[in-house]
């Protein structure tokens, strides 16, 4: 009897709640963005359509002051940063964010904000370099920002891409992964890893004294390692040389013990490698230096990619003599490049305690790219999600005043990343521990490399 009564009570309750709940429905997308992903959407096409629609409306009405939109209250533009501020990758996240912040401070203080009237504010969240955490943090702030100026980490960007596409939010990935180039919601800057690798190999073998040397690779066993190796293979094909040994080591992960390179170096030494293209993060550059320092019989040249560098390494003797770093731009503090002179001034003014740092520069340039897109969006009178994508597709060429190569933007299918690289060698007396060897080098055939 008792049983029946409480069941009836429950039923009445549930029914009334369903009615109540029904009023509480909430559509995912404020307005006209793409519907939730029902059947595996190939989103490029969808988004293209969407933005074409808004294009039309833009053309018909003259742009006025932008309407308030998510992250924009009519005065302040809020930009998200999802980056590890804790854990081992904070070494990279912190200077990146400092670069974002320094540029934004400059923008607000000296230019009065976007279009001289809308100051920019950063919302920094700790992603812990973990897709799950990043997803939580993304959900927490995505309704409150116009765009993300920095999202760090290939796994994190990968994990957030479906959300970015669904919400039609744009984000600046803080890595040079070429997979980003064709994603309509991402704002990559800088030449991809493959470009660095192609140019580095071509540059090295273009020097007469290096002719006939044996080329090898040493790469982490992950996607990042593969991108570098793909570039080396492309260059080797074009140069008509072989890659004698392709050595691998486990990519850094929360569970990998410290890396020692003894067997890999044995493998490379066995193949008589003269020059090793090294794809790594700083954690692994340190033990490589140790092993090569202690192996007095074998002194190969090492070509590294920009993420393998830390200022600390400038003091290491072996690297000083046998290491070249492929990156972009010029020496820190090179006054002959206007963008660099400005970067130094802004760093000294707004981030005086920050050490000169490659990642700081990258963060600074990301903010610079976002600045140009925001100016375009404000000029078009639309800071909404669709308006931002629209602005990114129509911004034309993103210029970095020579610190990085110009990046031709447009619809994602037509984007053209910069194709030149610069080469540095360790120098403890230089500000970033790096001294420029050659600037803006471009292999003849680098343009033939197709990004999927």
């Amino acid at each position: 009897m008792m049983q029946k009564r409480w069941r009836r009570l429950l039923a009445v309750f549930l029914a009334s709640m369903l009615v109540l709940g029904a009023c509480g429905g909430r559509d995912d997308d404020d307005g006209d963005a793409a519907p939730p992903d029902d059947d595996t959407p190939t989103d490029t096409a969808d988004n293209g359509d969407d933005t074409d629609d808004t294009d039309d409306t833009d053309d018909t009405e003259p742009p006025g002051d932008p309407e308030p939109a998510p992250g924009f209250d009519g005065e302040t533009i809020r930009l998200g940063v999802l980056t590890p501020t804790s854990g081992t990758v904070a070494v990279i996240g912190n200077p990146l964010t400092a670069g974002n912040q320094a540029y934004v401070d400059y923008l607000n203080e000296e230019l009065g904000g976007i279009a001289g009237q809308y100051p920019v504010e950063l919302v920094v969240e700790d992603s812990a370099y973990d897709p799950t955490t990043a997803g939580q943090r993304y959900a927490a702030i995505s309704d409150d920002v116009v765009a993300f100026v920095q999202i760090l980490g290939t796994p994190v960007v990968n994990a957030l891409l479906p959300d970015l596409i669904e919400d039609n939010v744009i984000a600046g990935p803080a890595s040079l992964d070429s997979a980003w180039i064709r994603e309509p919601n991402l704002m990559p800057i800088g030449g991809p890893y493959q470009v660095q690798a192609i140019n580095a190999v071509d540059w090295y073998f273009s020097q007469p004294e290096n002719e006939g040397q044996v080329l090898c690779t040493l790469a982490s066993d992950d996607e990042y390692g593969d991108t570098g190796v793909a570039g080396v293979e492309f260059a080797a094909d074009n140069l008509g040389i072989d890659i004698a040994v392709q050595a691998e080591y486990p990519a850094p992960s929360p569970t990998r013990p410290a890396q020692t390179f003894e067997s890999q170096i044995g493998q490379l030494e066995g193949g008589d490698c003269d020059v090793i293209f090294f794809v790594a993060t700083p954690t692994d550059t340190a033990p490589l230096n140790t092993v090569l320092t202690e192996n007095t019989d074998y002194n190969p040249t090492v070509l590294g990619q920009s993420p393998s560098w830390l200022g600390l390494f400038a003091g290491f003797e072996y690297l000083q003599e046998n290491f070249f770093l492929a990156s972009e731009g010029t020496n820190y503090g090179d006054e002959s490049v206007p963008g660099m002179a400005e970067l130094v001034r802004i760093k000294e003014t707004y981030a005086p305690e920050q050490e000169p740092d490659l990642y700081f520069n990258f963060g600074y340039l990301q903010a610079m790219a976002m600045h140009q897109i925001l100016e375009e969006a404000v000029a078009r009178g639309d800071l909404s999600r669709d308006g931002m994508v629209d602005a990114m597709e129509n911004v034309g060429t993103l210029s970095f005043d020579g610190v990085f190569g110009d990046y031709e933007y447009g619809p994602a299918d037509e984007r053209q990343p910069p194709t030149s690289s610069s080469f540095f060698r360790p120098d403890p007396d230089s500000p970033m521990g790096l001294d420029l060897v050659e600037r803006d080098y471009e292999a003849d055939y680098v343009g033939d490399f197709t990004f999927e």
Binding site: W6, M17, G21, A22, G25, P41, V81, T85, P162
Partner: protein, 382 residues
């Protein structure tokens, strides 16, 4: 002990005894034996339908769904560790298997929701049956370390079985079917109202929490469940009174990993990404922490523990710029705090584990039982 712990007999009223008495074996077996439990149930149903309405933001709902997903996995671990006494640091491996199952069967092959979720659970059962026998041979510490090894083995497989897992890059989960009959939980439409993904996910997850909790509750009251507890309390004695040790241990592993795989499926659907590094030791430890903090050997504790662990982390994240946390915590490189948000969270996480084990080893559930006992036995509160 049993009398106090078991959800009690009749409420204190009329001429009946003022304290909960178990008068009959059936009293012990009731899941919702008295009026208070029923009122609680109605309240929960109310919350279930009310929370996803406009009152809670999408971000908040996402947190609640995460809590629910952890609760399902933790219920599974509790069956193994709390009820059967087999300590496992390998739970994350099964969560990973579930996630990749959703990615491959659900998103890649496009199987329907009602097929790939049971499939994931069956895969879990299968793996449990394979791994369970190890627990027969190894005890205590050795078992802990072997289950730890499972995580490393799993990570290696996840990273190398590229056609299924996407390898090192991980795999995105886009467009997996999420419909049960006419209800599509990727964007629920009911009575002409459209719900957001977060709202729909909340409905789905917590419905499954209720389902798994009920299932687990029934399981532990069954012959199997009593055998499990006998094995936990003293496996030798259990064996002597006729409990089949092998069957019980393997069965516990199978149930536990089936639950974990379902939790993995849900987490894949929520995060829409699966990468090998997500299913590491840290996730396993989080699960163990949840059942310790919530209460080892209670279904209810697994849920409370998830609320506590996930909720406290979210609380810190949201208040990292507040007056009371601001000076301690730095939210970025230009902020002057001493610890980063992640560091503070990890330290608190560790401190909670240590604190609960030192001062309340039976977890939050024990606090609840104690409070309940205090009220029920009032004024004789001893």
């Amino acid at each position: 002990m049993r009398a106090v712990l078991a959800p009690f007999g009749r409420g204190p009223s009329g001429g009946r005894p003022s304290r909960n008495l178990v008068l009959d074996y059936r009293d012990d077996l009731r899941i919702f034996p008295d009026r208070w439990a029923r009122i609680g149930l109605v309240l929960l149903a109310f919350l279930y339908l009310w929370l996803p309405s406009q009152q809670v933001s999408d971000a908040g709902l996402r947190t609640l769904s995460t809590i629910g997903i952890f609760a399902i996995g933790a219920i599974g671990l509790n069956l193994l560790t709390g009820y059967t006494g087999q300590v496992s640091l390998g739970h994350a491996f099964f969560i990973g298997v579930g996630s990749y199952t959703a990615a491959y069967l659900g998103a890649e092959l496009g199987w329907p929701f009602l097929v790939y979720v049971p499939a994931a659970a069956l895969i879990g059962v299968g793996l449990g049956v394979v791994i369970g026998p190890f627990a027969l041979r190894l005890r205590g510490h050795y078992l802990v370390i072997v289950t730890l090894g499972l995580i490393f083995l799993g990570r290696h497989i996840f990273n190398n079985w590229t056609s299924v897992t996407g390898g090192n890059r991980g795999t995105q989960i886009r467009g997996a079917d999420m419909s049960i009959g006419p209800l599509d939980f990727s964007g629920l439409e009911l009575f002409g109202t459209t719900y957001s993904r977060e709202q729909s996910m909340f409905f789905l997850v917590w419905a499954l929490v209720a389902l798994t909790a009920l299932l687990a509750k029934n399981l532990v009251r069954s012959r199997m469940g009593r055998a499990m507890q006998a094995v936990r309390d003293r496996d030798l004695s259990a064996e002597i009174i006729g409990v089949d040790l092998a069957r019980t241990k393997v069965g516990a592993f199978a149930w536990s990993s089936a639950f974990a795989c379902v939790a993995g499926v849900l987490s894949a659907l929520q995060i829409r990404f699966a990468g090998a590094d997500d299913f590491g030791l840290f996730l396993s430890i989080t699960y163990v922490a949840i059942i310790i903090i919530g209460g080892v050997g209670t279904i209810f504790g697994a849920i409370v523990g998830s609320i506590f662990v996930v909720g406290s982390e979210e609380l810190i994240n949201q208040n990292s710029r507040s007056d009371w946390l601001g000076p301690l915590v730095s939210t970025g490189p230009t902020d002057a705090g001493w610890l980063s948000v992640g560091e503070l969270n990890a330290i608190l996480f560790g401190a909670f584990i240590v604190g609960f084990l030192l001062f309340e080893p039976r977890g939050l559930a024990a606090l609840w039982f104690r409070a309940k006992a205090w009220f029920l036995t009032w004024p004789f509160s001893y």
